[in-house]
């Protein structure tokens, strides 16, 4: 009797499996025999429609390829991680975190060579640093942002002081912030209480320091005097009361007119313009003792191909389309163009809110983020994040030197 039961169970299971297995389709083809290319993007709802229109355009131009857009928004990383873990990665995908994913991506150097010399040169050089790993290119740039200093013109007028310029140092920022605080009661400057360690390294670079050396040693770098100086400066600004450490990026506070200045990427420019905010953008202030102008981190967006893709030819065809001049122009307003020719012909440099980001881009070549050097960056990053919080969280405000020494010793 027991046997019967077992046999019955086995039969049912087999039936279920058979039933479910029959829905399987041949990989990489659509129903009408076109080559199917899956394209995953992280754009949010607002941009996804525009993207869909561009994808449709590509599909119209190609009889044999059908690109399907998959928009995952802020959950992009979870989805890509799950896909890669299960060996079902989209053929083409947006990419920024090359150190984490490069193993699953196709090197694109040989594809680019076929396009001729000029192809690569038309992109801003610095961008390639951020889209490569160990000398191989894994993504073609489609957009980027550097960071810059945003300031609220109305608040500066109210305080009756001069607006920031490109050659400001942090001392000037402090003076202005003090003046704003005393005359308007608003905070003069804001910075993040829990900055992303990836972004934050730009301040160290600007002051002739870095998290680590080329071998990835933290000790003597993260806790060097030059590095400590940076942390101390921000902590002092908050302690002295004219600056505030914000819980999130500081964008909400800046938009609401609660703070006079902050450093951030170009992500919020559209929102500021919609609000009618009266603001200006200049280069990141320099450190007085530093040997050079300030440097910015790059948040770069690239487009990559999966190493497992079965339709690499078609995928490259689409990547070419997506990184073309035409598409760079289409994306203006959502992404800063990455092609020199497009920046020139579209007169991007004449728009005051964008100039600083390109100046910062040109000033920032030759720096390698620690995430590209240290294999265990992801874990180090969360340790660093905790250390930074200990320095900046108003309920901690621990001693900079001690915290950094401890972090470097790990």
């Amino acid at each position: 009797m027991k046997k019967k039961l077992v046999a019955m169970l086995a039969l049912t299971m087999a039936a279920t499996l058979a039933f479910t297995g029959c829905g399987k389709k041949e990989d990489g083809k659509t129903a009408d025999g076109k080559t199917k290319v899956r394209f995953a993007s992280w754009d949010t709802a607002e941009d996804a429609d525009a993207q869909q229109a561009m994808v449709d355009k590509f599909n119209e131009q190609h009889d044999d390829i059908e690109v399907v857009l998959e928009a995952y928004g802020g959950e992009f990383d979870t989805k890509i991680a799950a896909g890669m873990g299960a060996k079902d990665t989209p053929d083409v995908m947006y990419m920024w975190n090359y150190p984490a994913y490069a193993g699953g991506l196709e090197p694109l150097d040989s594809y680019m060579e076929e396009e001729g010399e000029g192809y690569k040169d038309n992109f801003y050089e610095t961008l390639w640093d951020y889209n490569s790993l160990d000398g191989k290119v894994y993504g073609i740039p489609i957009g980027f942002t550097t960071h810059a200093l945003f300031y609220n013109k109305d608040i500066f007028a109210e305080a009756g002081i001069d607006e920031p310029t490109n050659d400001w140092t942090w001392d000037d920022v402090k003076e202005a912030a003090k003046a704003i605080e005393s005359k308007t009661g608003k905070k003069g400057f804001s910075f993040q209480m829990k900055p992303d360690p990836y972004d934050y390294e730009m301040y160290l670079w600007s002051n002739d320091a870095a998290y680590c050396d080329e071998e990835g040693n933290l000790d003597g770098n993260l806790n060097s005097d030059k590095s400590k100086e940076v942390f101390q400066m921000f902590q002092d600004m908050a302690k002295e009361g004219y600056a505030v450490a914000t819980e999130k990026s500081g964008t909400d506070e800046f938009r609401a007119g609660s703070t006079g200045m902050y450093v951030y990427g170009s992500w919020s420019i559209n929102s500021f313009n919609e609000d009618g905010l009266n603001y200006g953008v200049v280069d990141i202030p320099a450190f007085k003792g530093a040997s050079h102008d300030s440097v910015s981190i790059l948040s770069s967006s690239g487009i990559s191909m999966s190493a497992d893709s079965k339709n690499k030819e078609a995928a490259w065809e689409f990547i070419k389309f997506w990184t073309s001049e035409e598409m760079n122009k289409e994306r203006i307003g959502r992404e800063l163009p990455v092609l020199k020719t497009v920046v020139e012909t579209e007169g991007i440099m004449e728009q005051p809110e964008y100039v600083a980001f390109y100046t910062m881009l040109e000033q920032s070549s030759g720096y390698t983020p620690a995430s590209f050097i240290i294999d265990t960056w992801s874990e180090l990053s969360s340790d660093l994040s905790l250390s930074f919080e200990r320095v900046y969280n108003p309920s901690a405000l621990e001693d900079v030197s001690a915290v950094l020494d401890e972090a470097a010793a790990k």
Binding site: G21, A71, F76, A86, T251
Partner: protein, 273 residues
């Protein structure tokens, strides 16, 4: 049951306090949905919008193919709810009203399946569904529900355990078989808890975005909850459309709840009322 005036007053006061607590974030959310984004983040905050932007809702709804998402959400929600109610009541009945070999071990295994977080079974599950050819279809979201979920089985079992043992004796003497007893005698008296399982499942499926995120690919397959999550980007969040769609999404579950609570009360022959 009769009630004195003072105890009525006390009850109303308590009801009122709790209502304020539960409603205030929602009220704030509701008014914010009509504001511009600049107004929403303004400080000091204001409750009412300067101008009621009713078009926010239409704009939000039209910013993505939400009509398609709605259809998908309905398919998944209805598909799973029917499946859960049928399968869970059957399985729970088996666990609660019979003694059989291996019952306790099986029940422990059933409970155990709730204790492993989804994060680590998700990738193998993905591979399995891929093998079935189910990725980018609604099947991974619907089909498993037809085989019961531990949470609802456990819940139904608790209700079934509360029914006295001699309950089915009479029917058994009349010659009814086990399925007839289950169907004709237990289902009617269990109506409230069946509805409860339905309501609970409906809401969790309606709002689930992780499952759809992982198993779906094309936008034509997305559900409302996944569409909603699209408003949150890596750096920026489109908060106003997000709130609008959230509010729209509350409506169907609330309507279902209002209908369902009537049945939860009426299901039993002898309720407090």
């Amino acid at each position: 049951m009769k009630m004195s005036k003072t105890s009525k007053v006390i009850i109303y006061i308590l009801l009122g306090i709790m209502a304020v607590y539960f409603l205030s974030p929602f009220v704030y959310m509701f008014f914010t949905a009509f504001k511009t984004e600049a107004e929403a983040i303004a400080y000091p905050p204001k409750l009412f919008p300067a101008k009621w932007l009713f078009e926010n809702f239409a704009n939000a709804w039209n910013s993505q193919p939400f009509g398609t998402y709605l259809v998908n959400s309905l398919l998944v929600t209805i598909g799973t709810t029917v499946g859960q109610v049928i399968s869970c009541s059957l399985v729970a009945y088996g666990f609660a009203r019979f003694n059989f070999k291996g019952k306790n071990v099986m029940f422990m295994i059933l409970l155990s399946t709730m204790m492993i977080p989804w994060d680590v079974t998700m990738i193998p599950q993905y591979m399995e569904f891929q093998m079935f050819g189910w990725i980018n279809t609604l099947k991974p979201l619907i089909v498993p529900a037809w085989f019961g979920s531990a949470y609802y089985i456990f819940l139904m079992r608790q209700f079934l355990m509360g029914v006295p043992k001699d309950f089915e004796e009479a029917a058994r003497i009349d010659g009814a078989n086990a399925f007839q007893i289950y169907w004709k005698i237990f289902m009617p008296i269990l109506k409230p808890s069946l509805i409860l399982v339905g309501v609970l499942n409906m809401i969790s499926v309606w709002n689930d975005y992780l499952g759809p995120l992982i198993f779906l690919q094309d936008r034509s397959k997305y559900t409302l909850a996944l569409g909603l999550a699209q408003f949150k980007g890596v750096h920026e969040t489109q908060i106003i459309p997000m709130l609008c769609v959230t509010i729209i999404m509350i409506v169907p579950p609330i309507i279902i709840f209002i209908i369902a609570q009537k049945y939860i009360v009426e299901g039993t022959s002898g309720s407090i009322k």
